[in-house]
C-alpha cells in the first residue's frame, strides 16, 4: 500500500501574467499548506489553467515568484519541480499501453524495469485498473482513461498533484463516483493537491480550501463552509450555491434595507444609496402576502422532487424561494416572502464589496 507522505507547501507570490496586452492573472498570491487539497474555482477564462501551468512550469509568469516546498522554482524547468499533472484531456499516449503509460514517468527517470513494474502494478491497483494494463487508451472508457491518468500522475509520488478539470469529460454519475475516489486517494496519500474546476459542487465537496478566481483576481480563499456562509463579496456570493443567491436592489439607510414596497431591518449600520441585499433561496419562505418582508407575484413554480422552487417577481428583481414540495400556487398570484434575519448579506452595488 501507498503510505501517506507528508506534503509540501506551495506559495504563489504576486504572480502576474499577460499574454501580449491581455492581463490574465493579477497579483495572485496564495499559500497552500502541506497536504492540502486546494481547489481553484472560477468561470471559464478566469485564468485558472494559466495559474496551474505557471506552477507546473509550462508557462512563465510575467512577474512574481512560485515556491514549492519553500524553494523558488520560478525559473526552473518543469521536470525539476517534482509536480505531476492530470490534464483535462488526460493526455494519455495513444501508442503506449496502459502499463507503458503509467510507467512512462519512471522510465524517463531510468527506474529499473523490475522496480517500475511493481510501482505500476501498485498504482494501477490503487485506482482499480489492474486488469486493463495491456490495453491501449483507445480501448478504454472515459472513466477508465481518467483512472489511468491518475495512476500515471501518482506513480512517481510527486510532491504536488496538479489537476486541470480532470472530471469534466465524464458523465454526471461517473463524476460523482470519481469525486469520492479522488478525495479518498488524496487523503490517503497526503500529497498537496491543486485542483482546477469551474464546477462549484466539485469545489465544495473536494476541497479543504477553495480559491475563487475571477478575471485573474483572487476573490476569496477559504474553506467551503466559510465561502458559502460568509462570502467576501457579491461575486462569490452569486457564484457559489445552486440555485444562486437572490439579490434585491435597493438602498441601505440606517440599519434598514429599503426597496420598493419593502423594508428589512439589518444588523449592519451605515447608509449606501445603491445597495444589494442577498439572501439564499433556502433562507426564504413563502407566506401570505400581508405577512412577509418582501411582496411579489409568482412568476414560475418548479417541482424539483424533495422541494419546490418558486420564482417570485418583485420590482425589477426575481427571487427564488425553496418551498416545501407540497407548495401550490398559480402563476400571477400575489405572495409574500419572509427571510431569516441573520442570514442576510448586504453588498455595495457599486463595488460589490460586502457591507458588514
Amino acid at each position: 500500500m501507498v503510505s501517506a507522505t507528508t506534503g509540501v507547501p506551495v506559495n504563489f507570490e504576486g504572480i502576474e501574467k499577460s499574454f501580449g496586452a491581455v492581463r490574465v492573472l493579477e497579483e495572485l498570491s496564495l499559500k497552500v499548506a502541506p497536504g492540502e487539497f486546494l481547489v481553484l474555482l472560477g468561470a471559464s477564462g478566469s485564468g485558472k489553467t494559466t495559474a496551474l501551468r505557471i506552477l507546473a512550469g509550462l508557462e512563465t509568469a510575467s512577474s512574481g515568484r512560485v515556491l514549492i516546498g519553500g524553494r523558488d522554482v520560478t525559473d526552473i524547468l518543469p521536470k525539476y519541480r517534482d509536480v505531476s499533472m492530470v490534464f483535462q484531456s488526460y493526455a494519455l499516449y495513444p501508442h503506449k499501453t496502459v502499463a507503458e503509460n503509467i510507467g512512462f514517468p519512471l522510465k524517463v527517470r531510468k527506474v529499473p524495469t523490475a522496480e517500475r513494474d511493481v510501482a505500476v502494478k501498485e498504482a494501477a491497483s490503487q485506482v482499480q485498473i489492474d486488469m486493463l494494463l495491456d490495453r491501449y487508451p483507445r480501448q478504454l472508457s472515459g472513466g477508465q482513461r481518467q483512472r489511468v491518468a491518475l495512476a500515471r500522475a501518482m506513480v512517481r509520488r510527486p510532491s504536488v498533484f496538479l489537476m486541470d478539470e480532470p472530471l469534466s469529460n465524464l458523465d454526471a454519475k461517473l463524476r460523482g463516483h470519481m469525486r469520492a475516489e479522488l478525495k479518498h486517494m488524496q487523503s490517503t496519500l497526503g500529497t498537496t493537491t491543486i485542483y482546477v474546476t469551474h464546477d462549484q459542487i466539485e469545489a465544495m465537496t473536494l476541497a479543504h480550501r477553495v480559491a475563487i478566481l475571477e478575471k485573474g483576481v483572487l476573490q476569496q480563499l477559504d474553506t467551503p463552509a466559510k465561502i458559502y456562509n460568509d462570502p467576501a463579496n457579491l461575486f462569490v456570493a452569486q457564484f457559489i450555491g445552486s440555485p444562486p443567491m437572490n439579490v434585491v436592489h435597493g438602498s441601505l439607510e440606517a440599519s434598514a434595507f429599503k426597496t420598493t414596497g419593502a423594508s428589512v431591518s439589518l444588523p449592519v449600520s451605515g447608509s449606501i444609496a445603491k445597495a444589494i441585499l442577498g439572501v439564499r433561496p433556502e433562507d426564504c419562505a413563502v407566506v401570505a402576502p400581508s405577512k412577509g418582508n418582501i411582496r411579489g407575484e409568482i412568476y414560475a413554480v418548479e417541482l424539483i422532487g424533495d422541494h419546490t422552487l418558486v420564482t417570485v417577481k418583485t420590482g425589477a428583481d426575481m427571487l427564488t424561494v425553496k418551498a416545501s414540495k407540497e407548495f401550490s400556487g398559480a402563476i400571477g398570484e400575489n405572495i409574500g416572502i419572509s427571510v431569516v434575519k441573520d442570514r442576510l448579506f448586504v453588498f455595495d452595488a457599486a463595488t460589490g464589496a460586502r457591507v458588514r
Binding site: 512550469g57 508557462e59 524553494r71 522554482v73 524547468l77 518543469p78 525539476y80
Partner: protein
C-alpha cells in the same frame, strides 16, 4: 507553447535539488539549437551559399586555369548579352521588328498594367505592396512586349517565352484535365480505387523514362501509331522539324506526368467536402454538375490555387523532357531556360550559364510571388 525552457538559465539550479549538469542535460538545454541547426546549416551551405556564389559567376568571365578557376569581373556583361547582345535571339527571340498586332497588344497590356497600378494606388496600398506591384507589372509588360514582338509579329521566340509557355499552357491544361478527372473519380463509380491508383502512377515515373517513352510511342516510322501517321500522310514528317508540334509534344509528355499530381490532390480535396452539404443539395434536386459548381468548387478553391502554385514552381524547372524528347530543337524552339543554361555550361560559358540561371530564378520568384500574393492569399483570406 511558450515553455519555461526558454527562460531557463544555467546557474539557476535550485538549491536542494542535487543536480550536476551531465552532457545529456547540456544537450537538452541546447536542444532548440540542435533540432534546427542541421537543416539550417545544410540549406545555408548547399542552397543559400551557392545562390550567392552564382552571382560571382554571373558577373564574371570565368576561365579554367592550372590553379583552378579564374574570375574576371565584367559587371553585367553576361546579363546584357542575353538582352541586347549576341545571345539576344536565343534568350528573348527576334525582337527587332515589331508588327502592328504585336504593337497594339503590347500597348494594350501596358495600359492595363498602368490602370491596375493606378487602381491599387487609389485603394491605398502600402509602399511595400506598391513596390511589389510595380515589379509584377513591369515583368508583365515586358513579357507582353516580347510576345507582341515575336509571336504576334511572326518572329521566333526565345527560351524565356518557351519556359513561360510550358508553365502557363502546361499548368492550365493540367489543372483543367486533372480536376475533371478528380471530379469524375469522386462520383459514384465502380472501380474507383483502381482508377485512383492507376492515374497516380505517372507522377512517380522518372521524367527521363517519360521522355523516352513518349519519344518512342510517338515515333513516326516505328511507333505504335505508325499506321495512323501513314493514313494521314505524315510518314515523312518528324516532330523535330516543326517548332509548334515539338512544343506540344513536350507539353504532352509533361502533362502525362503531372496531371496525376493535380488529380490526386484535387480528389483528396473533393473528398473532404462535407457529405451533408452535398446530400442537402441532392435532396434539393441539383445535378452533379450543379453541385460541383455551387457547393463543392467554392470549398476547394483554396486547395486549387495552392496546387497550381506548387505545380508552377516545379514547372519552371522543366529540363528533362525537352532535353530528351527534342534536345531543345528544332533550333531552340523547345529549349527551356534550364536547358539553355545547361547548354551554355556544356559550352564552357559559365558566366552566361549562371546569368541565365539567375534570370530564371528572378522570373520564377516574380511570377510565383505575384501569383501567391494576388491569387492564393486572396482565396485563403476569403475562406477565413
Amino acid at each position: 507553447m511558450a515553455v519555461a525552457n526558454e527562460t531557463y538559465q544555467p546557474g539557476t539550479t535550485p538549491a536542494g535539488l542535487a543536480f550536476r549538469e551531465s552532457w545529456a542535460e547540456w544537450f537538452d538545454r541546447h536542444s532548440r539549437t540542435f533540432f534546427i541547426a542541421p537543416a539550417v546549416t545544410l540549406i545555408l551551405i548547399f542552397a543559400i551559399f551557392p545562390t550567392f556564389y552564382s552571382i560571382v559567376f554571373a558577373l564574371s568571365r570565368v576561365r579554367f586555369s592550372a590553379t583552378g578557376l579564374r574570375f574576371r569581373f565584367v559587371w553585367f556583361d553576361n546579363f546584357l548579352a542575353q538582352f541586347s547582345g549576341n545571345e539576344q535571339t536565343h534568350f528573348l527571340g527576334r525582337t527587332t521588328e515589331i508588327g502592328i498586332f504585336g504593337a497594339i497588344f503590347a500597348l494594350a497590356c501596358l495600359i492595363a498594367a498602368l490602370w491596375w497600378l493606378y487602381k491599387s494606388y487609389r485603394n491605398g496600398a502600402t509602399w511595400v505592396g506598391m513596390t511589389g506591384r510595380v515589379i509584377s507589372a513591369a515583368m508583365f509588360v515586358f513579357v507582353a512586349f516580347l510576345l507582341g514582338a515575336t509571336l504576334l509579329s511572326g518572329n521566333p521566340w526565345g527560351t524565356l517565352l518557351t519556359t513561360l509557355f510550358y508553365v502557363i499552357v502546361g499548368c492550365t491544361l493540367q489543372f483543367i484535365i486533372g480536376t475533371a478527372l478528380a471530379f469524375l473519380c469522386s462520383q459514384p463509380i465502380a472501380g474507383k480505387s483502381f482508377f485512383r491508383v492507376l492515374f497516380f502512377i505517372p507522377l512517380m515515373i522518372t521524367p527521363l523514362g517519360v521522355g523516352y517513352a513518349f519519344k518512342m510511342v510517338l515515333d513516326i516510322t516505328k511507333g505504335p501509331l505508325q499506321p495512323l501517321w501513314d493514313y494521314v500522310g505524315l510518314q515523312n514528317w518528324a516532330w523535330s522539324t516543326d517548332a509548334w508540334a515539338a512544343r506540344w509534344f513536350v507539353i504532352l509528355g509533361d502533362s502525362w506526368q503531372w496531371i496525376p499530381f493535380i488529380f490526386i490532390v484535387m480528389l483528396a480535396a473533393l473528398e473532404t467536402v462535407p457529405k451533408d452539404h452535398v446530400e442537402a443539395a441532392q435532396v434539393d434536386g441539383a445535378s452533379s454538375i450543379q453541385i460541383f459548381r455551387e457547393i463543392t468548387w467554392p470549398q476547394i478553391v483554396p486547395v486549387a490555387v495552392t496546387v497550381i502554385l506548387i505545380r508552377m514552381i516545379e514547372a519552371f524547372k522543366i529540363v528533362d523532357l525537352p532535353n530528351i524528347m527534342t534536345s531543345g530543337g528544332p533550333g531552340i524552339a523547345t529549349e527551356s531556360m534550364t536547358l539553355h543554361s545547361y547548354f551554355l555550361w556544356r559550352a564552357n560559358d559559365m558566366g552566361s550559364s549562371a546569368a541565365v540561371a539567375y534570370l530564371l530564378l528572378i522570373l520564377t520568384v516574380v511570377v510565383c510571388a505575384s501569383f501567391f500574393n494576388y491569387v492564393v492569399l486572396g482565396q485563403l483570406r476569403k475562406v477565413k
